[in-house]
C-alpha cells in the first residue's frame, strides 16, 4: 500500500535500503509533513544507525534558520541506542498510527517554563 501513496517518491530510496523501518518512517513522514505541518522537511539517511530520519522546522519557529530539528522514527518493538546524538526527537509509532514524540537531550534538562 505504501507504493501507491503520494508520499512514496520522497521516501522510496530509504524504504528500499532499510526495509525493516519503512512502516515507521512512512507514518512519521506523513504525520510531520501533513498533520504537524512542518516546513522544509528533508529525509536523511543515517548510515551508521542503518535507518532513515527526518529533518525539518516546526511551523511556529519556521522563520528562524537555526531551528532545524531531527526526528528519528522507530516502532514499539525495537530497542534503539542513540547515545551519540546531541538533541533529537524520537517518534515512536504504533500499529494504529498513534505517534508519540519524545525529546531526547543529553543529561538532565529542566523544562523551559
Amino acid at each position: 500500500m505504501l507504493e501507491i501513496h503520494p508520499s512514496y517518491p520522497a521516501l522510496a530510496s530509504l524504504v528500499e535500503k532499510y526495509p525493516a523501518h519503512r512502516g515507521s518512517l512512512f507514518q512519521t513522514y506523513n504525520d510531520i509533513l501533513l498533520a504537524q505541518q512542518w516546513r522544509d522537511v528533508q529525509v536523511i539517511d543515517l548510515g551508521d544507525c542503518r535507518r532513515g530520519a527526518l529533518r525539518g522546522k516546526r511551523p511556529k519557529t519556521a522563520t528562524d534558520p537555526e531551528s532545524l530539528l531531527d526526528v528519528i522514527p522507530c516502532s514499539l518493538a525495537e530497542s534503539i541506542t542513540l547515545a551519540w546524538y546531541r538533541q533529537l526527537y524520537l517518534a515512536v509509532v504504533s500499529d494504529d498510527s498513534s505517534i508519540v514524540y519524545y525529546k531526547l537531550s543529553p543529561g538532565i534538562v529542566k523544562p523551559s517554563i
Binding site: 500500500m1 519503512r22 506523513n30 498533520a35 500499529d95 494504529d96 517554563i113
Partner: protein, 446 residues
C-alpha cells in the same frame, strides 16, 4: 392586571406562560404553563445539545444494526415465544492489508465513517482519533481568507484537534502566569530581607500563586483589527497570494485499523472484507489468520521458509485481550500515550475519558516454552519495581486505574499443533486482571 411574562432563553427549550388578566386578583397563581420544546429532550444548555448530538451520531455500539419493523405488540408477543423478526443490517466494509505498517487501511469515506461511528474502530492516520485531516485543512484555508476575528470558531464545531490546541495555549498561559507569580513572591522576599532583615521563605503555592483550580483563562482574545481598512487590505493581498497558488485538496488520510480490530470485525461480525493490496482480492479467513500472525514474526518482511506458528505469537496474545474486553462491551483503544497497551472506554472516547489503562502481561503455562521461544514478548519476564511505579504514577496523574491483564499462554506439550490452525485455540487462553493502586499508609487511613 398582573402580567407575568416568562421567557427562557436557553436553546432549545422555550417556556411561555399564559396570564389571566382579571382573574389575577382572585387567583394570583399562574393559570397554565405551556412548554414548547423544539427538540425532543429535556436538557437545557449547550452541553446538553452536544450530548444529544453525540447520542444520535454514536447510537450504535457495533457496525451491525438490528432492524425490526414490526409493531411493539408483535414484538412482545413473538418475544414471549423466543422469536424475533429482526433483520441484520450489515454495512459490508472493505479495507486493505498493509504489511509495512502492520495494519488494515480503510480508504473510503463511507466505510471509515461507519466503522468509527459504530463502535469507534480505528484511527485516522493524520488525526488524533476520528479522521478529520481534510476538514482541518479546509478550515485552515478558509480562515486564511476570512478576517482574523472569525477564524475557526465560525459556524462549524471545532474538531478535537482544535480543542486540544486551545487547551494547550491556555495551559501555557497558566504556566507563564504561575512562573511570573512565583518570581514576584521571590522578589518580594528578597526586598523584605534587604530592608528589614527578616527571612521570608518564598512559597511555591498559596493564595498569591495561581494553581490549576484557581486560574481562569482570559476572556476570548479577539485579535485587534484596529484599522479596518488596513486589515482588509492585508486580507486582500493574502487572498490573492492564496488563490494564485491554491491547489485542489486531496484527502491524504485513511482510517487505520489494528490487526486485532480488523480480525474482530472480520471474524466475529463479518462486516469487514480485507483485501490483498497487490491483487485486490479478498483474503479468506484462514489466510487472514495466518498472515496476521506471520506479520508479527519477522517484521515487516516475511521470512523464508515461513517459520512455524506458535502459541506465544504476539497477535494471539494481544487479540485475546482485545476480544475479552470488546466482548464485555468496552471500547478498546491504543494506550501508547499513557505508556500502556490499551485504554478502556465505557462508551467511547467521545463520551468520557478512559477509566482503565491495561498492560498486557503474558504468562507461559510452561516455563520451558519461554526459554526455547524466539519471540521476545514484552512484559513476559518479571518486571522491575521502577517500571511498575513509573506506569502507575503516569496513569494516576491522569486519573486512570492501572490494570495488569495476565494472559496465560497454553503449553506446547499439552496441545497439538493443529489447534493453532483456527481461532478455536483461544479457548485455551485465559485473561485475569490485577488492579494496581498505590497505597500510602499515612494518607489512606481516613
Amino acid at each position: 392586571m398582573i402580567l407575568v411574562h416568562f421567557i427562557y432563553l436557553c436553546t432549545p427549550l422555550y417556556c411561555i406562560l399564559y396570564h389571566m388578566p382579571n382573574v389575577s386578583k382572585k387567583n394570583p397563581r399562574i393559570k397554565c404553563a405551556r412548554l414548547i420544546s423544539f427538540r425532543l429532550h429535556s436538557t437545557m444548555n449547550k452541553g446538553g445539545a452536544r450530548r444529544y448530538e453525540n447520542n444520535r451520531t454514536y447510537a450504535h455500539p457495533l457496525p451491525l444494526i438490528f432492524l425490526d419493523s414490526s409493531s411493539n405488540r408483535t414484538r412482545s408477543i413473538l418475544g414471549l415465544l423466543g422469536l424475533s423478526r429482526s433483520q441484520v443490517n450489515n454495512p459490508h466494509c472493505e479495507g486493505y492489508y498493509d504489511a509495512s505498517t502492520r495494519s488494515v487501511w480503510v480508504v473510503t469515506q463511507r466505510d471509515s465513517e461507519i466503522l468509527w461511528r459504530r463502535g469507534f474502530f480505528g484511527k485516522g492516520n493524520l488525526s488524533r482519533s476520528e479522521p478529520s485531516w481534510f476538514v482541518r485543512q479546509i478550515q485552515d484555508r478558509q480562515s486564511r481568507k476570512v478576517t482574523s476575528n472569525t477564524s475557526n470558531f465560525s459556524c462549524q464545531e471545532m474538531t478535537s484537534e482544535e480543542i486540544r490546541e486551545k487547551r494547550r495555549v491556555e495551559r501555557k498561559q497558566f504556566k507563564l502566569d504561575r512562573a511570573a507569580a512565583i518570581a514576584k513572591v521571590a522578589a518580594e522576599a528578597e526586598t523584605i530581607f534587604e530592608t528589614e532583615g527578616r527571612v521570608v521563605v518564598p512559597a511555591l503555592f498559596g493564595p498569591e500563586i495561581p494553581s490549576g483550580a484557581t486560574w481562569k483563562p482570559k476572556a476570548a482574545e479577539i485579535e485587534p483589527s484596529l484599522d479596518p481598512k488596513l486589515s482588509n487590505a492585508e486580507n486582500e493581498t493574502a487572498v490573492e497570494n492564496e488563490e494564485g497558488g491554491e491547489e485542489p485538496l486531496e484527502d491524504m488520510e485513511h482510517l487505520q485499523l489494528t490487526l486485532s480490530e480488523a480480525f474482530f470485525l472480520a471474524w466475529n461480525l463479518d462486516c469487514l472484507t480485507i483485501l490483498d493490496p497487490e491483487t485486490d482480492e479478498p483474503l479468506s479467513l484462514p489466510d487472514i489468520w495466518n498472515t496476521f500472525q506471520h506479520a508479527h514474526l519477522a517484521f515487516p518482511i516475511p521470512s523464508f521458509p515461513a517459520s512455524e506458528l506458535q502459541f506465544d505469537n504476539p497477535f494471539l496474545v494481544h487479540y485475546a485481550v482485545y476480544h475479552h474486553y470488546r466482548s464485555l462491551g468496552w471500547v478498546v483503544k491504543n494506550g501508547l500515550k499513557f505508556c500502556v497497551d490499551y485504554l478502556l472506554y465505557k462508551r467511547g472516547p467521545v463520551f468520557t475519558h478512559a477509566e482503565f489503562a491495561i498492560v498486557v502481561c503474558p504468562v507461559y503455562e510452561d516455563p520451558q516454552d519461554q526459554e526455547i521461544s524466539n519471540t521476545n514478548l514484552q512484559n513476559a519476564s518479571p518486571f522491575t519495581w521502577s517500571w511498575l511505579s513509573t506506569i502507575n504514577r503516569a496513569n494516576s496523574q491522569v486519573m486512570k486505574t492501572l490494570i495488569l491483564a495476565y494472559v496465560t499462554i497454553p503449553a506446547r506439550q499439552r496441545l497439538s499443533r493443529q489447534t493453532l490452525n483456527s481461532p478455536a485455540c483461544f479457548a485455551h487462553y485465559s485473561v485475569r486482571e490485577v488492579i494496581v493502586r498505590r497505597f500510602i499508609p499515612a494518607r489512606m487511613r481516613d
